[in-house]
């Protein structure tokens, strides 16, 4: 797929910030991921042409970073942290709860293409564990009830973004 004019404009706008063309590769892949929801082989080919990089270079970079999805994803990307601090606060139970609610296993996408569920490594929100991320937003201090509520909300509101969880602040302590 050819790159959109919007993406080209964005990348050309930051070109002068960096001494090399290749430095623009991560920002470009972010733009593609954001616009298309994933990074297809066609997109990688276009990215290479745009930055004068061989396809192999684009692929080796795109496949290194977990935020670039090389397969089509659900529109709502539910990522639950199960690393140590979240695990100590019951993240495995949350994951089981999400799997039940969505009827899929971690790593899968629902049949209607709406939700993808996955494990994510530490989100640096350990003080407000357990934490998860939906698309661009963090949800912290989660309970199973809240998780169910958030997923229900995301059924109709794909932008998510509203914090349903408890206040993330304990008196005198900051997350």
């Amino acid at each position: 797929m050819a790159l959109s004019e919007q993406i080209k404009k964005t990348i050309n706008g930051i070109r002068s910030h960096f001494p090399t063309e290749q430095a623009l590769l991560l920002p470009l892949l972010h733009e593609i991921q954001n616009e298309q929801g994933w990074v297809s082989m066609d997109s990688m080919r276009s990215a290479g042409e745009f930055l004068n990089l061989p396809l192999s270079k684009v692929r080796e970079v795109a496949s290194f970073y977990t935020m670039y999805k090389l397969e089509e994803q659900g529109k709502v990307d539910v990522q639950i942290c199960t690393n140590i601090s979240c695990w100590l606060q019951g993240a495995e139970k949350l994951m089981a709860c999400a799997e039940k609610k969505l009827g899929i296993k971690s790593g899968e996408t629902t049949a209607d293409g709406k939700f993808t569920l996955s494990h994510v490594e530490c989100l640096a929100a350990c003080g407000t564990a357990p934490a998860m991320m939906i698309n661009e937003d963090y949800y912290e201090n989660l309970t199973e009830t809240e998780l169910n509520k958030i997923i229900d909300m995301a059924q109709t509101d794909l932008s998510a973004g509203k914090v349903v969880g408890k206040s993330t602040r304990t008196e005198g302590v900051w997350p």
């Binding site: 910030h17 960096f18 001494p19 090399t20 290749q22 430095a23 623009l24 590769l25 991560l26 920002p27 892949l29 972010h30 080796e60 970079v61 290194f64 970073y65 977990t66 935020m67 670039y68 199960t82 690393n83 140590i84 601090s85 695990w87 100590l88 606060q89 994510v120 490594e121 530490c122 989100l123 640096a124 929100a125 350990c126 003080g127 407000t128 564990a129 991320m133 661009e136 937003d137 963090y138 602040r169 304990t170 005198g172 302590v173 900051w174 997350p175």
Partner: protein
């Protein structure tokens, strides 16, 4: 609250609970914002480096390297082979992702200008006119906040051309990572900043010679930069006095896991791990403490009886672990150490960049062996074999990632061997749990 330290005052977090604390207005009005920069710009670069050296500020990212010394490694007037001057770059490592660490996120959301000011001062000190802030990709909101803070600082004349009439120019560029833990390692970060795979580089050459885009570069952590304005404004002596002999200032400790009040605490370094847990409201549900990981996931575990150790770099190193990134993970008596260590090893297995075979294979083997023990297929020989694998990993690879993997693996086996043996004897964790429960039920007092 008793800190046992008459010199202590919060350096980074005095106002993070106040509304609007992230704005430029607030920073200027209530926190002497950009006054440290004003002072620094009247000093010679070498004087600024000297001030930071004497403050005993040490890198807050994990390695604890003296910051002033790192700055002094930057060449004064580097030239390329044709004799043309080379640019120098300053890089902020905001790829926070060490499990148990969440302090930099606090700085980003509550006091971003402190970090920006620190970076401009550092830029002046090392003679750089351009800084990159490498932010972990998952921080969408935090990135927007930081970009706004940069824009505001620029409008107010703290960034851009001829800052405060000093003739010094400086610009800050944000670069987003894309979800790779290894990019927190400084040379992997530099590769990533160049749009490449985040694979650590062989050293030498060190970043001060060949860093970002082949130019001399200096990489520091978010918290390190955030401490700099205070040092310039209040003087190195005040900062140094708050710390220990070899490490100045305060530290942001992120306390997480089984405590009542998890969160970021800014504390002097003469407190013990036990004191810190007490400040964080004590162990959750009145349970007994079993173990603590004192410096982010890579730091070897401490048993409960070892938690009287102080939280400064040297005391923790002496106790066989490390201060690392200040992430204190609290584990109580209800947690299986084998399971906790396996949780970490799964993470390392996923995040090894795969360049060095010892690390790529070793992290995979370790995770599989811990899983086997949990599932009931472990043998007594496995425990010796774990130590052998770790011996082939630590110090044998390009970067310190392999050493980090051995932190939880070795310390768990060494300090909680009986838990591993129990699982091996009983045939796994499920059977061990069932066994423990039936034991309790059979007890006469129940």
């Amino acid at each position: 609250m008793m800190y046992n330290n008459e010199h202590f005052e919060p350096v980074i977090t005095p106002n993070v609970d106040k509304p609007g604390c992230d704005t430029l207005d607030f920073y200027l009005k209530n926190e002497d914002g950009y006054k440290g920069l004003e002072k620094a710009l009247k000093m010679k670069p070498a004087e600024v480096v000297d001030e930071v050296k004497k403050s005993n500020l040490r890198g807050r990212g994990g390695a604890g390297f003296p910051t002033g010394m790192k700055w002094s490694f930057m060449p004064a007037n580097p030239v390329d082979k044709d004799g043309n001057p080379k640019p120098k770059y300053l890089v902020c490592n905001a790829d926070e992702g060490e499990p148990g660490t969440f302090k930099d996120r606090l700085i980003f959301t509550k006091t971003p200008h402190r970090m920006i000011e620190g970076m401009i001062i550092a830029g002046h000190a090392i003679g750089s006119n351009k800084g990159f802030i490498y932010i972990r990709g998952e921080w969408f909101k935090e990135t927007r906040l930081m970009q706004k803070a940069i824009d505001d600082a620029k409008k107010a004349g703290f960034l851009g051309k001829n800052i405060l009439g000093s003739g010094f120019d400086y610009e800050l560029i944000i670069y987003r990572g894309a979800g790779a833990y290894i990019c927190g390692e400084e040379t992997a970060l530099l590769n990533s900043l160049e749009g490449k795979r985040g694979e650590p580089r062989l050293k030498p050459p060190f970043p001060a010679q060949v860093g970002a885009y082949g130019m001399p570069s200096c990489v520091n952590n978010v918290e390190t930069f955030a401490a700099v304005p205070y040092i310039l404004l209040k003087g190195w002596e005040k900062y140094a006095k708050m710390g220990t002999e070899r490490s100045g200032g305060t530290r942001l400790l992120g306390v997480s896991g089984r405590v009542n009040k998890p969160g970021v605490y800014e504390l002097p370094m003469n407190l013990s791990i036990n004191d810190v847990i007490e400040l964080a409201g004590g162990v959750k549900d009145g349970k007994k403490l079993k173990a603590v990981i004192p410096g982010g996931a890579s730091a070897p575990m401490l048993r409960a009886d070892e938690c009287g150790v102080l939280t400064d770099y040297d005391s923790l190193a002496k106790a066989g672990t490390m201060a690392g990134s200040g992430g204190i993970i609290v584990i109580d008596e209800t947690v299986s150490i084998v399971e906790a260590a396996y949780t970490l090893l799964k993470f390392y297995e996923h995040e090894s960049c795969g360049q060095c075979s010892q690390c790529r294979e070793g992290s995979h083997w370790l995770a599989r062996m811990f899983k086997r023990i949990l599932d009931g297929g472990g043998t007594q020989d496995d425990l010796d074999y774990i130590a052998k694998i770790c011996g082939n990993m630590a110090g044998q690879t390009i970067c310190a990632f392999a050493d980090a993997v051995t932190g939880p693996a070795l310390s768990s086996v060494k300090k909680f061997r009986h838990e591993f043996e129990e699982l091996i004897r009983n045939g796994g964790i499920d059977k061990t749990r069932a066994h423990t429960h039936s034991h309790i039920n059979e007890g006469a007092h129940v």
